[in-house]
Amino acid sequence: MHATPTIERILRGTAIALVCLFFMFPIAWIMLMSIQTNETILRVPPSVVFAPTFENYQALITGKLETAAGTLEINFMRNLWNSLLLSTSSVALGLVLGVPAAYAFARLKFRGSEDIAFTLLSFRFAPPLLVLLPLTIYFQQLGLANTYGGLIWVYQLIVLPLILWIVRGYFEDIPADIEYAYRIAGHGFWATFRRIALPLAGPGIAAAGLLAFIFAWNNFVFALVLASADKQPVTVGALAFVTASGIQYGQVAAGIVLSIAPTFALALYAQRYLVEGLSLGAVKG
């Protein structure tokens, strides 16, 4: 190994530091804001010296916001709950629908399987509003407007292609002989699927589920168009919160922190699979 010149190391170090500054600063700053009172937030010039407080979080959790004008009812916890419910249920439904289909596409090459798989994939790239706007009208007629069920179904638009394409790759990686061996040993198709294919694709299914959860959680436009206040997830709720709360910036910041924390945690947990998931299996991590 030849030694890297000092000047290059300094340049590299500086570049990495700048990159970290740009990408980490907003997150750090919002976190700092979330533990400040509005008085310290509004100070000019801004300062990082302040007495940290958790009253913003407290206000969000209790749902009562003390303002100069009086007590304001906020329901941000409801948004968090909606996000959790919508994301979890969508992923659960997506797995139930997507895993068997992924298996069919991976193992049982059938007439039109590639075309169907591509059609499903192309949903990933179509403008969501194209489908959402007519759906607002249909949902009214079907009684699905502003229901969790309707939203969960629409969320399949992002969840399903993701699960299908990632899990399909994992099924394809299982040697067919292993499944044949189980069939020949006397087990039926379903038993083989359940006891061989599913466990062996397990890590892939888990990764796809986690990623699908992150995508569902971060979605904004579906709920913006189809949900009213009581069904809105955090992404839409936070926007409404900004408008409603006036100048309660500390609470807004705390709300943002609470909203991004779950995806951050999952991303850290599933980082090994992120590359593969984000590229729909095109690039192995």
Binding site: P175, I178, Y180, A181, Y182, R183, I184, A185, G186, H187
Partner: protein, 372 residues
């Protein structure tokens, strides 16, 4: 249970893999499917196992048509070339797979698995996962799994391919007894002719999606159907020399190193045709100069193998021939030597078609007419 294949055809897209394969295996018989890779052997096994379906033709096991019968209902045991063990189950669960399908009691299962494992000497590693097993143990586990269900038809897809030479040798000795005890009808796929000869009651030689010859090991070795099969069996490989049979003093003869070599009079029909003479290395022996039929050769190199010594020599025309003799017997000096041919073992092939010319075959009627 006997097994019958009738005119099996299978293509993947435009690639024809099996082109009209017919085969009957008697109950309790071990049939070896032998052939180069790509001959369609593995596909044939999979069709019998039912994991893929033939495009045409019928498969019957024990007289029952297998069309539409799922793999799990065919009563077959199969060992795969790459073992195909279930990576998430330990060796015990792997071997017990055919038993769990039949809802046996735990104790009956333990008993059966234990017996098979003891037979194959893997009873000490039953609680290891496949990745903790050595290659040889994996191979034995795969075999144990195939045997555990006591199937009436056993399909073994080159099970010794991926194990080391020592184990392959041991298993080659062990397997015939094992298969005999099992009493099952066995189809055994291999690319190793020694394995084929050691294990098969009969050998079916496959190439290009067809069965080229079926017969006992001796028949295949001594009377191969064509040049290609003659080359596939035997080590060192058979000597093949271009010749044109002519009428000689004692019937039919060919010329080797300017020496006339008398061959079976039954080859008369081949006189004047371009042929290939096939001489097994062990059908040649070194003799003293002046012995009857001695052919002069130039000795090039000698290679001692374990039980025999192989000599590479050149004829006067510069054609290479191999001569083998039992190890320890005296050989020729370097330089000039003479070999004699055991003419009774000389094979003759038609050069254009590659087919063996059978000296015992009656002259075909059409030829008779032509002569008349």
């Amino acid at each position: 249970m006997s097994l019958e294949l009738r005119n099996i055809e299978k293509a993947f897209g435009k690639d024809t893999v099996l082109d009209g394969v017919s085969l009957t295996v008697a109950r309790g018989e071990t049939l070896v499917l032998f052939g180069p890779s790509g001959a369609g052997k593995t596909v044939l096994l999979r069709l019998i196992a039912g994991v893929i379906e033939p495009d045409a033709g019928a498969i019957t096991i024990g007289g029952r048509d297998m069309d539409g019968v799922e793999p799990e209902d065919r009563g077959i045991g199969m060992a795969f070339q790459n073992f195909a063990l279930f990576p998430h189950m330990d060796a015990f669960a792997n071997i017990a797979a055919p038993l769990t399908a039949r809802h046996q009691t735990k104790s009956a299962m333990r008993e059966t698995v234990g017996a098979v494992a003891r037979l194959l000497k893997i009873d000490h590693v039953l609680h290891h996962r496949p990745k903790e097993l050595s290659n040889g143990q994996k191979q034995r586990t795969a075999l144990a799994r195939a045997l555990a269900g006591q199937p009436s038809v056993l399909l073994l897809d080159d099970p010794l391919r991926n194990v080391d030479a020592k184990l392959r040798f041991e298993m080659r000795l062990e397997l015939p007894r094992l298969l005999k005890d099992q009493g099952a009808t066995v189809i055994y796929v291999t690319q190793d002719y020694k394995e084929a000869m050691a294990l098969g009651h009969r050998i079916a030689v496959m190439a290009g999606g067809r069965i080229r010859q079926i017969g006992t090991p001796a028949e295949i070795y001594l009377s191969p159907a064509d040049i290609e099969i003659a080359r596939l069996f035997g080590d060192p490989v058979i000597n093949l020399l271009d010749v044109r049979p002519e009428r000689g003093s004692q019937g039919v003869q060919v010329r080797l190193s300017d020496q006339a070599l008398a061959i079976d009079a039954g080859f008369a029909a081949a006189i004047g045709r371009d042929c290939v003479l096939g001489l097994r290395p062990e059908a040649l022996r070194f003799v003293a100069e002046g012995s009857p039929g001695a052919i002069p050769v130039e000795v090039e190199t000698e290679t001692p193998l374990n039980e025999k010594t192989v000599t590479l020599a050149l004829t006067l025309r510069g054609r290479e021939i191999m001569v083998s003799r039992p190890a320890g017997t005296p050989g020729p000096d370097h330089g000039r030597a003479h070999v004699a041919v055991d003419a009774g073992h000389a094979l003759l092939f038609d050069r254009a078609s590659g087919a063996r010319i059978d000296p015992a075959a009656p002259v075909t009627p059409s030829r008779k007419e032509a002569v008349a």
